[in-house]
């Protein structure tokens, strides 16, 4: 058979743009991370400014690392490898650049709005609704470019990496849309469509799959391309790659509820999450072993090549994190680990080890090739490798220690049956670990800076190949293949694969979500639980704005120590008006689910002004601006109307009189404060926040009384 060979050019310019963004946002995201890490032992590092305080800076760190650093890394790798795997230039240069500038604008908008306190209050999905819409549009642009390239490919077989890209695109689109359903109140404020338990389930279904389909599957795709290329060896087992791909995408989608063990989520959903999390070990380790075994007989290359060094540690960290994850999903282990720094250590094995090191390896691989030169300094890259590796160890080990120690301290009782430690003692005890962690982070960041320098010097000595020449035969339509296997047919039909993947993933999602929505028995309503007053609602929005949920949980698990420390364990019915839920995932400070009525109003006032005046040794930042900021009451009617739409039973026309109720309650609190010699106008933000804090968890306390009265 003879055919014309076509000549074409790979677009390296777009890869370069995404590559630059990867390095820049690696450094920005890590700087933000280091800054928040320092605030753990030096609260003054918040600078007493709202934008640089932990509650706002931490979401900036997580969003910058996940969506800016790893996001741009994914796009760099996809735009480079997809063209070569498909033997075709990207579908549309125009779409490539819309994708690039769109994504960078989203990152800029995210950084600004998060620092200004515009947040939905849902972890890793903090961005407000206009940005959510922009993400959807840009994601679709990326999708058209991705599938367009696949459709015009010159290579019939879809290499395993491409399946991972497809699964990533489909699932992230679905997760993002479902979790971002929210009702706008104003241009930068919205309420989650779901409440309480339902919101929690949707959020962690999303949150876990953000890890699965943004931080794992695309990076596995990159691994399947860049690792064999860097080692110049075929992947250990192509068959294994097919099996573990399908297993991974099918199982991952069910694992979300393991973030909610021992919470008010129905028990069956918790068990489901645990079972599927354990099952995940198999496909995850399939991927890890496939990566590591690819290097069998080539370990001498690992000694020489920094790219392979980074990849070996990255894949090993992937293996460790995906073994640890299922273990943490066991209820008995989760009872110890949850709400502690153990979780933070776990995610950083994945973040620093797997994502970071894969990104570095890829950059060290790509830059010399695209600039037609050699890496400026192998030695600097090796130094980066060691700094990074030691950084990971110094980061993670102290936090494992801290998490385990703190959890045991929380649970310790004296022989007389009293809690052995005050919450604050359990915090001050682990401060040395927090200091060591930040040293580890600083080393890791130093390594990244060395990489930036090394890449810069490499670029300076090379000459950029903007359009890389290539040639391949066009794809011919086979008349009638003798014998076709179903998987082969599927591989050549991306649209069909897209639909099938979506069906697969949707089955998992729907099976888990629908019952909770539909089965009423899952959400027992409690008669004494009432909607928030307008002032409390405003206070709750301040609580969300300041990111209080990044350090305080609102979920008392049914353990002896938690009930003794905080009060009656949390019930699902208590959260039916919580749009969004604020259960949190970390207890850097104590749980607040029964905070209402624990302390007088003046305690909260003084505590927000200077936490250390009320609790010496506390590491909470000061919230001085709340004392002066005027409360914006103009938003009250819109907020009440939005809540009514979501089913919160405010009386008809209440939005019109809500502000007069608000002022009445504010005056009562101001009078209360006056009794304790605190002179404050009633219309400041601190008053609203106090109203909310004094309300949390109180409704259910009224319950036993009414019951006795009825008897």
């Amino acid at each position: 058979m003879s055919m014309q060979v076509e000549k074409f050019y790979y677009d390296n310019k777009i890869v370069r743009a995404f590559g630059y963004a990867t390095v820049i946002f690696a450094i920005v995201g890590m700087l933000a991370g280091l800054w928040v890490a320092i605030q753990f032992y030096a609260p003054a590092a918040s600078l007493n400014l709202a934008p640089t305080t932990f509650g706002r800076l931490r979401p900036l760190h997580t969003n910058a690392i996940i969506f800016a650093f790893v996001g741009n890394c994914i796009f760099t790798g996809v735009y480079y490898s997809l063209q070569r795997l498909c033997k075709a230039r990207m579908f549309s240069d125009k779409l490539s650049w819309i994708h690039f500038w769109g994504w960078q604008s989203i990152i800029a908008a995210a950084a600004i709005t998060l620092l200004l306190g515009y947040t939905t209050g849902k972890e890793y999905a903090e961005l407000e609704w206009p940005i959510d819409i922009a993400i959807t549009i840009i994601w679709v642009v990326f999708g058209i470019n991705l599938f367009g390239t696949i459709l015009k490919r010159r290579e019939k077989h879809l290499y395993v990496a491409i399946w991972f890209y497809i699964a990533t695109w489909v699932t992230v689109a679905m997760l993002h849309i479902v979790n971002s359903l929210e009702i706008p109140v104003s241009f930068f404020k919205s309420y989650s469509w779901y409440a309480g338990v339902q919101d929690a389930l949707v959020q962690w279904w999303y949150g876990h799959n953000a890890v699965a389909f943004f931080l794992t599957t695309p990076i596995l795709g990159l691994m399947y391309y860049f690792l064999p290329k860097a080692a110049n060896r075929p992947v250990y087992s192509y068959r294994l790659s097919i099996i573990h791909f399908w297993a991974l995408i099918f199982i991952y989608i069910w694992a979300g509820p393991h973030h909610l063990l021992y919470t008010s989520l129905p028990d069956w959903a918790q068990s489901l999450g645990t079972v599927f999390s354990i099952m995940l070990i198999a496909p995850s380790w399939g991927g890890m072993l496939n990566g590591l075994f690819t290097l069998r007989g080539a370990w001498d290359k690992v000694r020489e090549d920094p790219v392979l060094k980074f990849m070996v540690v990255a894949v090993t960290c992937y293996g460790m994190a995906t073994f640890e994850g299922p273990m943490l999903s066991l209820k008995n282990i989760n009872a110890i680990s949850h709400f502690t720094d153990w979780t933070i250590a776990h995610v950083h094995i994945g973040g620093l080890g797997w994502n970071g090191f894969m990104a570095f390896a890829m950059m060290y691989y790509l830059v010399p090739r695209m600039w037609g030169t050699k890496l400026y300094s192998k030695k600097l890259a090796t130094n980066h490798f060691w700094l990074g590796t030691i950084g990971i160890i110094l980061y993670a080990v102290p936090l494992y220690w801290a998490g385990f120690t703190q959890s045991l301290m929380w649970k310790a009782f004296t022989p007389e049956g009293q809690l052995k430690f005050q919450f604050l003692e359990t915090v001050t005890n682990i401060i040395p670990m927090y200091i060591t962690r930040s040293v580890g982070g600083a080393l890791y960041l130093t390594g990244a800076l060395i990489m930036a320098f090394n890449l810069y010097k490499t670029i300076r000595q090379g000459k950029f190949v903007a359009n890389e020449e290539a040639e391949a035969a066009p794809l011919l339509r086979e008349a009638h293949p003798k014998r076709e296997y179903w998987h082969r047919i599927l591989e050549r039909k991306p649209v069909m694969m897209l639909v099938l993947s979506l069906v697969l993933v949707a089955i998992g999602g729907v099976m888990e979500l629908i019952p909770t929505f539909l089965v009423k028995s899952n959400i027992p309503t409690i008669a004494s639980v009432k909607p928030y007053t307008p002032l409390e609602l405003q206070g709750r929005d301040i609580y969300i704005r300041e990111g209080c949920y990044t350090c305080h949980s609102q979920m008392i698990r049914p353990f002896r120590d938690e009930v003794a420390r905080y009060g009656e364990y949390s019930k699902a019915g208590e959260f039916v008006y919580d749009h969004p839920f604020q259960w949190g995932s970390k207890r850097t400070g104590p749980d607040l689910a029964r905070e209402g009525g624990k302390y007088p109003d003046s305690w909260h006032y003084n505590h927000m002004y200077d936490p250390r005046s009320m609790s010496p040794g506390s590491i909470m930042p000061q919230y001085v601006w709340l004392l002066d900021n005027k409360l914006d009451t103009s938003s009250t009617p819109a907020k009440i109307r939005a809540m009514k739409t979501l089913g919160v039973p405010y009386p008809e026309g209440y939005d019109k009189i809500a502000n007069s109720d608000l002022m009445k309650q504010a005056n009562t609190i101001a009078d209360n404060l006056k009794k304790d010699k605190i002179d404050t106008p009633p219309d400041v933000e601190i008053v609203a926040l106090i109203a909310y804090l004094q309300r949390i968890g109180r409704d259910i306390k009224a319950e036993p009384k009414t019951q006795t009265a009825m008897k």
């Binding site: 003879s2 064999p228 992947v235 179903w486 019952p515």
Partner: protein, 57 residues
């Protein structure tokens, strides 16, 4: 709590379908060519010489 039974049936059914599909795939020789795709990516597709624009395959 009857919903957990519905869930179990549904998930076992789905898992069963995939197991069946997988077994069928193995039996019908779907995974026989598990070498060439992984080796193919290692070859560069740079033009063999700058003067020829087409060549015989």
């Amino acid at each position: 709590m009857s919903v957990i039974i519905v869930l179990l049936i549904a998930s076992v059914t789905v898992a069963g379908i995939f197991l069946a599909a997988f077994l069928w795939g193995v039996k019908s020789g779907q995974f026989e060519d598990d070498y060439s795709p992984s080796s193919r990516i290692l070859f560069e597709d740079k033009p063999s010489s700058s003067t020829t624009h087409s060549k015989q395959l």
